[in-house]
Each structure stands twice: as C-alpha cells, then as structure tokens.
Symmetry: D4
Subunit: 230 residues, 8 copies
C-alpha cells in the first residue's frame, strides 16, 4: 500500500520510517517557508511528532517557526546549524558517542548541522572544533575524546587533511565532510572532497561538500548498528 | 614507544593494531613481489599471523605465494579479488551481516575485493551481483537479503544510480563504491563518484573509485561498532 | 528565397515553420523586454498567431504582456514555467500522451517549462512530481501513468538517478533533463548531466541542464513522429 | 513474479521484453567470450531467438560465433559495427526511416553500431557519411534524404557542430552522438559532447560518447512511437 | 632606452608603438575610473592622441569621459561596446574589410567590442548579426558579404558551431570568439571555446571567451599584413 | 552543382578550392593507408596535383608512398613532420615570411608540421627552435628574424609562456600552438592551451593542442591576405 | 604540555612560535569582527605583541581596529593589503631583500598582502609592479633590483607567464602567486596556477591563487634560512 | 653577448650559470639517447664538468653512459632516481641540511630524484621515507631529523596530506611535491596537487606532479640563500 501525502508541490513519504527506520527529513533549501511549514504540518497531523528541518535560517526559519506555532506545533530553531526541530530530540539510545571534529572555525556551521542532526536522531555528541592539522598538538590534546567515540565525523575545508590524520588515529569509522571553506584552488570544496576520497587512511568514507546533515545521519545509523528496526 | 620496522623501502606500523584495532594491510600496487613478500614475512615474524595483501594478481600473486611458502607461511590467493590472505580469515564476530551489491557483471572484481576484505576482518557476507537499476525487479527480488544486512556496500559504474536506490530501500548505512566500468563520459569512474556523492538518499557515504578494500574495511568497522578494542 | 525579418538586434527566421514544422520560439534570456515584445509583434504581423516565449518572469514578463496587449495581442503568462504564450496552445494532435516526471519539489520550474512547451506544441501532458528514487514506492505508485505515455521526460538534480530508473521501467523513449538543483559537488547540474549521459538504461537521451523547453520540444516531435509536415 | 536467470556472474532479465518491449541486449565489453556465449545460449533456450551482442570484435567475436554454432545458434558478425546478431534482424515495421549522418570517415564505426542496432530492432536506415560542416555543400547535397527520415542520428567528433546544423535543417527529432574522434582539446569526446548538449538547435538530445547502440536504440523507439507494446 | 611612465599603480609602455606598431590600449576592468583617466591623460601628454579604453561602461565610463574633458581631451563613449575612444578612429588603411558575424542577439556586446576595436585601428567593418547555424539560410543570405572580407570574426556562445561553418565557407582567416552566452553545461563559455578549438574547419584560431577586443585587434593586424611598421 | 567524389568511406570535396582557395587536405589519422592512398589517387585524377597528407608516419607513410608510386604519383615523405606531399610545394607567393618558433626540442615535430604545411601552401619559413622563456637571451638573439616575419607561429608545451612573450615583441599576428609536451599538471597540453588563450599580449590567437597543420594553414592565409582568390 | 587557548569558536595555538618560529597569524576571512578582535586580545594578553591579521578590509577592519584600541592595543590598518598589524613590524633581520613583482595593476592587492606580510616578519621589500611579459623592456629595466633579491615573489593573473620569465632571469628561489585577475578561460585563476606549476624554469614553486600572505610568509622563511630558531 | 651552442635540435644555454648560478640541466624525457649524449658532450667541451641529466632510465641511461665514456666522460647512473651525473656532485656548501620526506614506498623514485638533485647541487640530504599521515607516530619518530633541516621536501600521492602536517611541525620552508601515486579519483596526481596548494599550513609551496628535480633544485637554492653568486 502506498502511504504518501500528495501536496501538489511535494509528495510526503510516510512509509519512510518503516522502510528506513527514520521519518522523512525536510530539506529546506529550494522550498519556500510556506511549503516547509505545510509539509511539517501534514507530517505532524499524520503522527510524526519529531520533525527535522534542515537548511533554513534567519527570517525564513523564524517564519516557519511562527507558522508552526499557529497550529500549536512547538519548534526550536538552532541558528548555528540552520536547523529547526519540532518535538525535541529523540532519546539517546546509541551504542556509544559520536565525535564531531573540525579543522577550523569557519567549518563550525557544517559541524553544527551534523551534531544537531545526530542529537535529533538519538545520539550523544562530543564537539572538538578548530583542531586542524597545521597545529597537530591541538588535535592530540583531544585524542582521547575522539578515540572514545564509536563514530567520528571529520569536517574540514582547504586541503581536507584532517580526515586522513583522524582516520589514522582511531579504530572507529570516520565520516569525512569536505567544506567549501577556503578560496582560489579550493574549487568550492572540490579539492577537499578529492583529498578525502583519496585518503591513505582506511576506514574513511565521504559525503557531499558541506553536507553536515548527511554525515550526522549516517553516523547515527552506525551508532545504532543492529538496533535500527527493519 | 615507536613500534615500527624499517626496511628502507617501507616502514611497517606494528602499533597499528592497538591504535586502530586492525593490523596493517599490505597494499600491493606500486610494490614489487619481493617487497610484498618481505613486508609480510617481517609482519609474520613480529606476531601478525593473519595478513591481508590487496591489489596483487596473476604472476605476481603466485610469486608472493611461493616466497611465503618458502618461509613456511601458508597463504591463499583469491584471484577474483586480487587478494592474498595468510593465516585465514578472522573468526566472524560482527553484529550482523554485510551485503555486497553490484550493478553489473563488470563490477564483480571490485565487489570481491570488498567481500574478501570483510570476510578477512571477521564478517559474514551476502553477495548480490548484477542487479542494476535498469532492471529494478532483479534488485527487488533480493531486497529481503539486502534489508537483513547491518551494512550495505553498493558498487556500480556508469551512472552509479544503484547507491541512491539501495539507500532509499534500507535502514542500514550504505557504503557506495563507484567503479571505472563504463566508457566515454564516465571519466574513468568520476561520473559515478559524483553521482554517489550527490545521492538524494540519506545514509550513503562514498569511497574512492574501485576501492573495494576501503568499503569492505569500513563496513567491517561498522559491523563491529562498539566492539572494536580501543 | 530568404524569408527572415531583420531588426538589427535580431534576425527572425520566418522560414522555420516550413523547414522544421514549428515557428521560431523566442528565447527570452539575454534579450530585454522591449526586444522580446518587438520580435513577438513582428512575428504576429507576419502571420504567426501562436507564439511561445521562454525564460521570462516577474516584472519582465508583465512588461512584455502589457506591451503586447497595447498592440492587441493577447498573451498568457505561466509564472511557474517562466513562459508567455500568445494565441493559446496548438490543438492536441499527438500520437499519445507525454509524462513529465521529477525527482523533487525544486525541479518543478524546469518541469513546468517542459510541460507548458509540450502543451503549446499540441500535446497532452501528465505531471508526476517529487517521486525521486530515494522513495521508490512513490514512483511505483505512478508507474501505470508513466508507462501509458508515448514519451517520458525525466527531470532530476543531485545525482540524476531518476533517468535510469524510469528508463528501465518503460518502453517509450526517455528525455532526461538534469537540473541545477543540489549543492557542493553537484557542480551546478553537471554531476546530474554526467550521470544521465552514462545511464545504464537504454532509450535515454539527454538535454542541457535546466533545459525544460528543449525536452518539451523534442518530446513533442517524438509524439508527432510521422505527423510533422516536411 | 521474478523472471530472470542467475548465472552467478550475470543476472539475465527475461522480463525485459514485456517491461520495455525489447529483449535484453548483451553489452560485450567487460565480459569475456565465454560469458557472452553462455548468456546468449541461456537467452536462446528461454525463447529469445533474435539476440543483439554489442562491443565484440575480432578474435573475441569469432570465438563467440563458433561457440554459438556449436549449440546450433546461427549468428552473423558485423565487423564494422562490432556487433553480433543471432536470428537475423526484426522485420522492419517502423513509422518511417532512420537517417544516420556522420561528420567524418573516422566516425563510421560508431555510425555502423547505430545503424545495425536500428536495423536489428526493425527499422530501415539511410547512411549519409562524411558530410561534416566544414564542407556544407556535401551535407546540403543529401538534405532531402535526411529530411525524409522520421528520426535522424547525427554523429560527430571534434567540435560536434554537425548536430546543430542538422537540427536546424529537419523537422524530425535528432539524436546526437559525440565521438572520441579528434585529438588534444577534444578531451576524448567530451568537447563534442558539451557542444551537442549546448546545441542552439531545438529538437536535439544527446547520448554518451561513441554510444552508437544507444542512439540506434532510442531512434528505433521513436520510429515505433505508439507501436511499442505496453 | 626604457620609455615608460611609472604611476606607481601602473607602468605605461610608451615604446609599445615602435615595438608592435600600436600604442598601448587601456584595459578598464580592474582599474578604477581615476586610474583610467590618469593613464589616458599621461599617454595623451606624451603624444598619444588616439587612445582606446576597453571594458568601461555606465557610470564609470561617464566619469572617465568627464575627467578627460576637464583636461580638454575629447572622448567618445560606445555604450554597446563598453569602449571609450579619444581622438577618433585611425584612418582606414587596411587591405580589405573585416566581417564580424554573431550567432545570436546576446553576442552583440562582444561583437561591438570587436568591431569598434577594429574600426579604431583603421579598418572598415561589416556587421552580420544573429545568423546562428540553427537557421543556416540566414547565414547563407549574407555569405557574399562574409566572403568579401579579408578577415572574418565569428562570435558565438552555446555550442559555438558558427566558427566551423563559417570556416568552411570562406577563404579568409577566421578569428573565433567564444562567448559566455548560454546556461548550464555551457560552463561560462568554456564549451564554446572547446568547440572552436576543436574546429574541423582549417583556418580557424581562437581567442579568450568574450574577448571581442582581442579578436578585433588581431583581425586588424591581419588586415594590415605587410603594412605594419617594424 | 555538387562537385564531390563519394568513396563510401569518404566524401571528397572538390569544390573546396573554389570555396576556400585551397584544395582539400587529407588528415591521415583515423584513416588506414589504403583509404589515404585511394583518396589521394582520386583527387589526383580529378586534377589536384599538389596534395598534402598529414599525420602519417613510419610504415604507414611508406606504404602510402609506394601505393602512390604504383599509379605514377610522385610523393615526398617528411618524416619529422609526419607529412606526405605530392607534386611538390606551391610556389612561394606570400606577402612576407613566416617565423616558426618553439620553446623546446620536444616541440619540433609540431613545428615541422606547421612549417611544412606553410611551405606546401606557398610560403617561405624561418625556423627558430628551442628558445623557451627560461633562457630569454636565446630568444632575444633571434628577435630580428622573428620581427621580420609577417606572421609568427609560437609553439610551446609546459606553461606555454612563449606565446605571450613573443606576442609582446612583434607587430605581426601570432598563432599560438600549445603542445602536449610536459608531464603531470600539463594535462596533456590543456595547461598550455589555457595559458595561451589567457595571454596578456594582444594579437595572439590559438589553435588546438599539437595542431601544427592548423597553425601553418592559418599563417599561410594571413600571409596571403588580399591575395587569396574569392 | 598543551599551550592553546580555547574560545569555543577558536583554539589559539600559543605553542606555534616555539614550534615554527612565528606566532599564529589571524586569517580574517570567515571570522566576524568580534571573533577577530577577541582572538587578537587573547593573544596579546598571552604575550604576543606583534600580531598579523589578514583578509580584513573596510568597515570590518575599522571595527577591529576600534575594538583593539578600546583595550589599549594599537593597530595599523593597511587598506591596500587588507591587513591589520598590531605592535608594528618585526625588526628586519633577513639575509637579504625580497622582491615582489607583479604582471599588472590589478595584481597589486595580492602583492601588497605579500609585501606587508614579509615586512611584518622582519624583511626589507622591493616592489616592482606592472611589469608583465607583454612589455618585456619594463621588466628588463628593473632586472637589477630583482636580481639583487634573495627571494623573488612573482605575482600574475591571466596566463601567469611572469613566473617563468622571472625564474629564468634570477639565481634566487621564486615563489609564484597566481591571481584571479582575468576573465573567461582564466577559470578564476586556475589557468595561471596551472601555468606556474608547469613552469619550464627551475627554481619556481607555487602557492594558492591570490595567496599573497602565503608567499610573503614563505619568502620570509627563505630569507631567514638558518636563522629561524628551532 | 649571446653564449649558446646551436645543435639544430637544441640550443644550449651556456650563459645560464652566470645568470642563475647553476649550469643548464639536461631534461632527458622527450630527447633520444643520442641527443642527450651530444648535448652533454658539447657542454663538457665548453667547460661544464659537472652535468646533471634527469628522466633517463634503463637501456637509455646505459646507452648515454656508454656514449659518454667513449669520449672519456665519466658518468654515474642513479637508477632509483632516473638520473645520470657526470663529474660527481658539487661539494656540499649549504647553510644546513635538506630533509626529503615521503608518505609511502611508491613515492621513493620521486624522492630520489629530489635527493640526488640536491646532492648534485652541493647539499647534504636526510631521507625519511614511508611516514604517511595515516600512521602519525612513524612521522613523529623522525620529527627531530626533519626539524633539523633548513628546507624540507614533502612528497606524497593520494591525498597529499603530508605537506600540511609537516608544514605545521617545522620552522623551515616546505617544498611540497604531489606524486601520481594512487588510483581512481587521484586524477594522476592532480588531487594531491590541489590538496597541497590549499594547504592550511603556512610556509608550504608546491611544484609539479612527480617533479622531484624541481623540488631538489629549489631546496638547494634556499639552502644557499645569500650564497648564490649574482
């Protein structure tokens, strides 16, 4: 049986939870505020109380928030992550903790998207920011926290070397996120992406440039290995 | 304390097991048969009985095999995977099973590299080959096996669409491996890589083109989440 | 005999209809509103009553519309498609129907450009939107409508996998349209383009990124195979 | 019900005919001669008498041919097209004729792959070779034959301008095939591909570099518009 | 002896005329209006009465114009060409005429930059605009004018096929100018550039994307072959 | 009237001389020796006594040469240029001389293709080889010869800087030829091509990588400006 | 012992001086004015009196300047270089002088970033601007100053030929900086970068596009060879 | 006065020593063995006793060696470096030592080219091989040797992260050499090149892919800062 809601502009996948264990996430980019609010409302009315909306910020986020409160749906805006959450995070029930590591200060918005996503999906997160490889001792000072994680998300722009260095330090899988941070020959993040894909460290896989959400999502899957309903 | 063996041409990392939980793997490409055999012998003498050698085939693999047997090290050649294993696979102790899925027949060597790597590292593997998206019913006929896995490795060349389709069908993390299979605008696998990195399905991350080893390695890490010694 | 109108800035091809069966279409991008209105007026005065203007929107479209009404030419603006039509659509006289399928909500403007173009050129169109491959059941729920078409237009951004999946499901030719929807390594639509060009499904050909018009136009030609005047 | 034959290395799609109207085609590249012969034999035993095998040539083609004749399957080798056909071509039943046009002499192998594919699938084909745009009068001398076609396949390497020029001359849909013919900045055919994708002529769509088969296949679909069983 | 004027921000090359036969041209992009005016003034004071300033438009051009008139230098602004000329054009003394041909209306600014540059340098110019290859008869209607030229400048965006078609029609050298006109896979003009560089027509050479000036300059050199002082 | 010879595999353009002033040139790459000899024979029989065949070398060139002598056509092989000429060069009747300049020793085959082509077409040529910009004084020692030319062909691989330096030294038009000489990030000549296209010197235009023929051909056109029959 | 200051958004590396001889530099892009001021203040309080802040300009630079003066830290803004310096430059103690050479006027901001960085780090700098290779005599007029330097920084956009020409003229190491100056096929500076990386001159190495700071920094290291504390 | 020897195929720059302090080096790729031997002989006869020949190996190197001994020039072949040296190395007279560091075993040929070049030019070299960032402790075990160098050459393929990590550990300038070691998305070394160009560490500059010679040459210049004759 097909269980989806057709809104004309969108086709909401209600079967997603039973198919993949997680309800549909609303990707806010390329949708206007009214569309986002309407999708969220429809999901809520069909029984999804915890909803994650990504790539919304500033005025647009505030508007969605107001729209939702008009129909009595309580939502939080996480400005730094460009994320809205309704119904709060899922209760942490992962195998271990997730470490989110960044090379620089400018990578933090992507890191927060990853961290908030993972927290929403029921994970505990450690944030280790601005520990790029040009100052290894900053990274080494935090290596115990990183090694304690069951999954590590390594986020870096420029040359993206962080992924390889972290990959060589830990026994957990590493999800690498290239960012568009940098200039010139960074090619909008493509250089970091290529760097991470060619990592000499085993155990590193890569998601799209600036895709904090994707990293947080997969990290959560990994941190629930064997636990996700099938 | 530094625990590595210096051979002049190579610097074997004996600390690797305690740092990452898995002994160093010998990447056979770019090393000659004598170098490979010598590295394996040294590792063996320093207590590594289970050794994985990748990217060796044909004459070169046979030579390494002979060299090792001369010093009483028993090794198996897996031709289809371009892999040599000494001391047999590690005992399966993963959380669940790993599914290795390919789009076509030509992707099988990469798939076998992934499958053999995962088996070496202590995992049980299901192989589902030649189920590309142009004939969805072939994939759907195997969907139960795929959904039963705790990690899925999706391997495809050409347009690499398999990763997204599989990603939308399962609740487990998907490791996507683009292959160099195809011609013309496949750009040696880069088109499939870009396709997989841009996947509209959540829970998909990507390794290098033809990197079956890397996918099998990370899949094993995931299938041992919370179990790898730290 | 040369039958074209020279306006200095443009050289209107009046012979086009007899050469290709369809009057010249006005591509609005890179022309200002006055130029567009003047070309349309000239075509109208030379006997073209049905005129299609693409890539005009908002203020510019309204201005063209007003200019045309000043010389008693009635035109409709299709905002969602960035299209203006004078004289209404041609009467539907195709062999069958055209299906326009999109992967996501953000692909809709391109889809509407394709659908409106096809309708203008005398075709009946079915719209099936937001049925991306990450939720296959949404697509499968519509497969009968899609299989009923004589031509299918498959529109998707990100990894563009929709084209291959649809290509494997139908017996009609598929025109694939990559869109610039996505971010990071989508390379402004180039990743989807490469993906579609490398499609493992037979019967798929590709037009330029975001080229809804081109897809609608070719789909119309196909839906009139053997009927177009020569 | 799943109707496919599993050979371990391949998964033959017997449902394909009813799903898409055409039996599976064997893509010979990346398969060895024994695999190809075995797939053909299995298809034949399951009732497919007309079988098309592409991308086989020289020794390999001869070997397949011998293997098939050992099990009493008669096959023809078309050397120039790198194609083997068993059971002869399907009876021509298209709406009209298909024109295959090339820019140069070196494009002929791709053109023959297209032409033989179309003939196999039940179409009559006109071949117009070596009429590149640097000598327009050669093309114009054949324009009547080209205009008489219901579909045109335009094949060119180097700058690929043929597609646009042909597209402007005819009222039929044009399938453009970039070839890898050329050198230097032709980027292995990518320059011609980009050129064709950016064609200023309406009604042109594009398949992969050197993909004569894909063009012949889609041209056949178009030439049977409204006739393919669904 | 070094004959240049140092302004700190610029180093004006007064020797250029004797070395290359033509005085330095002021490239306005990347210089502010005051810098441009000052360079022009210095050149004027050192005896250069005919000065060409490119890539200036709107407000900036008007400002330069005013600044020059304040020091009694008369200059004309050619808005359509983004060019300012002081002292009028050089007297036409070329071998023949230069034809400037464009594919579309949107290419006209680049064409005007070429045409005005050539006129400034002492050439007579024929403008043939909007005669793209998708409507060959428009081009053929003007072929006599084009064939009458001693040099042809062919300007086109999108797939840039105009260069090859024109190259095949004339006995004069053709300077091809790719433009950034187009969208999607036009890659900002790179597709047209690649197309033109790979031209199957002999006698075609290429300048940078949108470089009307460069084309007009070289065309002038060619039209003065054997006449330029050395 | 169409004046071309159809050979099935080729369509010889006999009208080319009257249209462009120069008979068709046989591009030997991608044609086998028999095809080349047959085309040459046909042209000869239709009155073309001076024939240029490019991109033939070694065994293949010798075979063509023998084949032609069998039908009493005398041809010379220029090994260094990969060129065969029948009937000798055209009598020099250019406006001035053509200078062919290379950056290094490895660029010489391309340079000879250019020089021999120009000589065939009736030009006198000066060869100035191995004067790359890393040793400017070598170039400056020859500057008088270069400045004496009416056209300069600048040929270089690696970074292709020669084109700009030469462009700044002369008053004649410069045809730049990037070569595939170099390694690593030379991208098979693409880096030199980009460098030359972006030349800061005016009066430089560019042909395809390693396209000595194209440069020689256009240089000849320029050296005959106003003289080529129309 | 780890000596770094954690600010949440940044992790200041106080050990940097003893590890690399130079205190951390604040890269202003991607940080807001408050973050920059706070980092500078913290460094100051921990004993760093000479602080370099790059990539700050206009309003943002003024704000940082005011914020610092509020806590009694005196800073100078170098507008042309987009740099702020606190505590003045380090005393010049280099082996020799550093020459900063540019191809054009538009390269000056990058040059000033390099020059100011070098001066801050204790070097004397000669500025030689707008001496591009299209007018070699301008460069040759300054060759004595350039040859007198112990390190040369060569800065150019467009085709970046300056690096090779300078590299061939001097016995000192050359740091090449490609700039994004240019248009069209300059690819945002990538063409100049490729050109410089492929330089035929020995002794040239390259930094990122527009990376004046990186060039100035490395030039200073070189000018202090054997002097930097270890 | 021009002091160069013209051999027709080559133009030997005898002035190079006085201009740049170092005699011309013979780049063996793209020259045949006889050309190389002849150039070396000519240089020797004109007083250059120490000659460096790069990119020669195996049979070709042996042939050059024999040819030189026939004219009583003694030369050594360094197989691992693909280098021939006549007259031995220059006496070490650098400021300090040069460290050559590689990520892996496969990078050694490039490293040896760098090391032998530096030794030839009068430097003492430390070799630290196979210390890639995936096993940081191997690098840290050698950090004292590396920190002791006045210049560091960091050589790595794949993701090239070594350059940034080393750059953060030392106070000396780092010359980074990307290698073509790797596969798939390593793009023949381009990924490592981009990674190194985008290095987040200051003090790193980059030479061409596999350009060990260039790195050794520049390192020598740096190690002789202030000492090279001018």
């Amino acid at each position: 049986m097909d269980r989806s809601i057709e809104l004309g502009f969108a086709n909401i996948d209600l079967q997603r939870r039973e198919r993949t264990g997680i309800a549909e996430v609303i990707y806010g980019a390329g949708k206007d505020a009214d569309q986002i609010a309407e999708i969220a409302r429809q999901m809520y009315e069909h029984g999804e109380t915890h909803i994650l909306i990504t790539r919304v910020e500033g005025e647009k986020a505030a508007y969605v928030n107001r729209k939702l409160s008009e129909v009595d749906i309580i939502s939080n805006i996480y400005d730094d992550a460009h994320i809205i959450v309704t119904g709060g995070n899922h209760k942490p029930d992962g195998i271990g903790r997730i470490a989110v590591v960044t090379g620089g200060t400018s990578d933090i918005p992507v890191a927060e998207e990853a961290a908030r996503t993972a927290e929403f999906l029921g994970n505990e997160v450690d944030r280790i920011y601005d520990v790029g490889v040009a100052g290894l001792h900053r990274l080494m000072a935090k290596v115990d926290i990183i090694r304690n994680a069951t999954v590590v998300i390594a986020i870096a722009g420029m040359e993206g070397a962080l992924a390889s260095v972290v990959g060589g330090l830990v026994s957990a899988p590493v999800i690498a996120v290239p960012t568009s941070v940098g200039y010139g020959a960074n090619l909008g993040g493509l250089s970091a992406l290529l760097s991470m894909i060619n990592s000499c460290a085993s155990g590193v896989s890569v998601v799209n440039i600036d895709n904090g959400f994707g990293a947080g999502y997969q990290a959560s899957l990994i941190n629930h290995t064997g636990k996700t309903e099938k």
